[in-house]
């Protein structure tokens, strides 16, 4: 992987030998192809028969049966789109959080950003069923909840002399509180949220196109902001003192990065619940291939996160038919062992 590429370029050090220059476009193309393949698989695989021909017909305005059309439009397409959006959002949110907190253990699920968002969503939904209308759209409420969680973490991390471990431990505590809060809401108002049974582990069943528009817009904005911040946040990897010396407002930059990560994760949580694993694992895998430069890590994480989530969802709803697993469960089931294998193979993280 990374070492291989470096070894190859090592011999040619005179000219501008960009070790990854040749690999990056290839990697991007391959990733896009995998994404398209995963999306197609998500559209055609499933309990009812929809073929590649039907998908093509729908895309090109050709003829297809009413059943196939309704399956595609009302079930499969929302589901695939939801998976793409959620995967891209969680993975890039994780990449941001890991960079901002300078800690490979962090992810939106670990430090409580997801559960802050989830808590807000469930609270708003529960209030609505109790007849108290909260005039805030769910994705925005989720963003605010995520922002609250990351604000708490930021308050801890900005105290002078606090170690990186303390910050993550504080996140674990924040996560525990919001997790308990969500369980509390679900106990008091079990029917507050449609599909609440799989909300805590994250699932894509019941996603409809109409409910995706607002999160999609927020996620697009979040991705744009993340890419704009990427070069700056890179500098944080040099450590607090060096970053300060280079003219970085360390605290403000961290706040901006966490707000952006909250926007991404919050928007995703608002429609698919607390899918966790993708936000931790995908950035790590991406870093192994493209190094630590966030200008590469974020787009690659987004692509791979989207692909992984859609594929996992296909398996989740077909492998155990007629039962359907929430994608979050399957993702941890598949991804966990793979992640451990990857860590063992690379002899772990020696620099931490």
């Amino acid at each position: 992987m990374g070492s291989e590429a470096m070894g190859r370029s090592g011999s040619n050090t005179t000219q501008a030998a960009r070790p990854r220059g040749g690999r990056l476009p290839a990697l991007a193309l391959l990733s896009l192809a995998a994404l398209a393949a995963a999306a197609l698989a998500g559209l055609v695989l499933g309990a009812s028969g929809v073929g590649v021909a039907d998908v093509l017909a729908l895309l090109t305005g050709g003829r297809l049966t009413g059943t196939a059309r309704s399956i595609l439009v009302s079930i499969r397409i929302p589901r695939v789109l939801g998976g793409l959006l959620a995967g891209a959002a969680f993975a890039s949110s994780g990449a941001l959080i890991q960079a901002v907190l300078d800690n490979p253990l962090a992810s939106p699920n670990v430090i409580g950003v997801n559960s802050g968002a989830g808590m807000a969503v469930l609270l708003v939904a529960a209030l609505a069923t109790a007849g108290v209308a909260v005039p805030v759209p769910l994705p925005v409420a989720a963003f605010l909840g995520a922002l609250l969680a990351s604000g708490l973490i930021l308050a801890v991390s900005s105290r002078a002399g606090v170690s990186r471990l303390t910050v993550v431990l504080a996140g674990v505590a924040v996560n525990a509180v919001f997790g308990a809060g969500m369980n509390l809401v679900l106990t008091v108002a079990p029917n507050a949220y449609v599909g609440s049974s799989s909300y805590l582990v994250g699932g894509l069943s019941g996603v409809v196109l109409g409910s995706l528009a607002a999160p999609a817009a927020l996620i697009a904005a979040g991705m744009a902001l993340a890419l704009a911040l990427a070069a700056r946040i890179n500098v944080l990897a040099l450590g607090h003192e060096t970053a300060h010396a280079l003219g970085v407002h360390v605290r403000a930059l961290r706040a901006a990065g966490l707000a952006c990560a909250s926007l991404l994760a919050g928007a995703a949580v608002s429609f698919c619940g607390l899918i966790g694993f993708v936000g931790l694992m995908v950035p790590h895998v991406a870093k192994r291939f493209v190094g630590h430069d966030l200008r590469r890590v974020i787009p690659v994480s987004a692509l791979w996160g989207a692909t992984f989530t859609v594929l996992a969802d296909v398996v989740a709803r077909t492998a155990f038919a007629p039962y359907e697993l929430p994608v979050g469960i399957l993702m941890a089931l598949m991804g966990g062992p793979f992640f451990v294998w990857l860590l063992m193979r690379g002899r772990g993280y020696r620099d931490e």
Partner: protein
């Protein structure tokens, strides 16, 4: 010492470290365009001083002036344009050397983190000055200790600040790499008219390569025992007082090195 205003000036610095005073009215001026080596026993506050100079911390009393202006009052970007600091401990991210050096242009980034033509030129120049052209696209983690340190100094150079603060830049380097690095720093200071303050542990290195040497004392609150040319400092009572050693010059082919021998601290120091 030169008549011109000092490039960097510590005025009446006082601060506490825990219950004990670390400094109580320390004054230190760094003449423009010179390489000043700062020597002192462990824990005497050398790194703390550099931190004050870069606005990482603020002293309880007193000010640090850069070009006559208080550092604490400068906005972050402006400060980065005037003072570059290479802290003692820095982590090396998995980044190409050129990208690492480009971090030095942080203060000049556009709204999307992009760099302009002038910035690219500054980065290229810093890379050539530190002799890193052949390594520009190598991963920084794969460099040797000396190369890595040069890459970080190139990053600080890319800031194009008039004052460069180095906190033990030769730690982890072998003798040869340390000498090369200090020679390079000297040359840079001369070429660019930069003022360099280097906190050093190696007395011989400081006396050999610096225009001036400042010695901080062992007792708290820390006092400035001596500041002057290497010859003045080596001949004075400051080194025995601070370290319990005397520096004895020996010359070969016009190069002066210093041997260190145990010495009694002078009475009353």
């Amino acid at each position: 010492m030169s008549d011109a205003a000092p490039a960097l000036e510590f005025r009446d610095i006082a601060c506490r470290c825990g219950a004990r005073p670390l400094f109580d009215g320390l004054d230190l001026a760094v003449p423009k365009g010179e390489v000043l080596g700062v020597l002192g026993p462990n824990g005497c506050g050398k790194s703390t001083l550099l931190g004050f100079a870069d606005g990482l911390g603020t002293p309880a009393r007193g000010t640090v002036l850069v070009g006559g202006e208080p550092v604490a009052a400068l906005p972050a970007r402006e400060r980065a344009g005037r003072i570059a600091l290479l802290p003692q401990v820095h982590r090396t991210p998995s980044m190409q050397v050129r990208d690492l050096v480009a971090c030095g242009r942080y203060a000049h980034m556009g709204p999307f983190g992009q760099l302009g033509e002038k910035d690219e030129r500054a980065v290229d120049e810093a890379i050539s000055l530190m002799g890193l052209r052949a390594l520009a696209h190598r991963n920084a983690r794969r460099l040797s200790g000396g190369e890595r340190q040069r890459a970080f100094i190139a990053m600080a150079l890319a800031q194009e600040a008039g004052v460069l603060l180095l906190d033990e830049p030769t730690t982890y380097l072998d003798v040869r790499a340390a000498h090369e690095l200090m020679a390079l720093v000297r040359r840079l200071a001369a070429q660019r008219g930069m003022t360099v303050v280097a906190v050093l542990h190696d007395i011989d290195l400081a006396l050999r390569f610096c225009d001036e040497v400042a010695v901080l004392g062992r007792e708290r609150p820390t006092r400035l025992l001596a500041q002057g040319t290497p010859a003045e400092v080596a001949g004075g009572p400051a080194l025995p007082a601070a370290f319990g050693v005397a520096a004895v010059p020996c010359e070969r082919d016009g190069v002066r090195a210093y041997g260190l021998f145990e010495a009694e601290p002078p009475a009353g120091a």
